[in-house]
């Protein structure tokens, strides 16, 4: 049962990364691409968390934590740039 859940989560992450990359390539405006990058960051965090669970090494969760904080910072920086505030 547990491996089925892990497999379903991996398939959903795979699908999410694929759709995010499609939006990044097709996106006509910059805002579309920034939203796609934010979604791909969330997908990366979930991928790291899933790999920490599968590999049984919970030090990887710290990497996911640092990742979350810094991706938030990057998206805020781009938003401030678009608002002409940076």
């Amino acid at each position: 049962m547990a491996e089925h859940i892990l497999l379903a989560a991996a398939a959903l992450i795979f699908l999410g990364v694929l759709l995010g990359v499609v939006r990044l390539v097709l996106g006509p405006t910059v805002v579309d691409r920034v939203a796609a990058v934010d979604m791909l960051t969330v997908m990366s965090i979930s991928m790291i968390s899933l790999y920490a669970l599968v590999a049984g090494r919970f030090i990887y969760l710290d990497v996911a934590l640092v990742y979350g904080v810094l991706s938030f910072l990057a998206v805020i920086a781009v938003a401030r740039y678009l608002e002409r505030g940076l």
Binding site: V21, L40, S71, Y81
Partner: protein
């Protein structure tokens, strides 16, 4: 399945790098370069180097994008389109 994810991430690095080179908008190219660094960090983690991944995520994806944006803002005119 791990090899499949690493292959997906390498394809993501390739697509992001190509977009960073070929896009017309400077801001979109900067964001794509940050995304390439982000995929590279996840790839390092899956290959078993969490400390390298943490450094790459903080410097390559966060600080580098911030510094590029600051440089673009300083060098462009304030009435430019992007």
């Amino acid at each position: 399945m791990l090899q499949l994810f690493i292959l997906l991430l390498c394809c993501g690095i390739l697509v992001s790098g190509l977009l960073a080179v070929t896009l017309k908008s400077v801001l979109a190219a900067t964001v794509s370069a940050g995304l390439a660094s982000l995929f590279a960090a996840v790839c390092y983690l899956l290959l078993g180097a969490p400390d390298v991944a943490m450094t790459e995520a903080s410097i390559g994806s966060g600080l580098s994008t911030l510094m590029f944006l600051y440089a673009i803002r300083k060098t462009r005119d304030s009435d430019g389109d992007d």
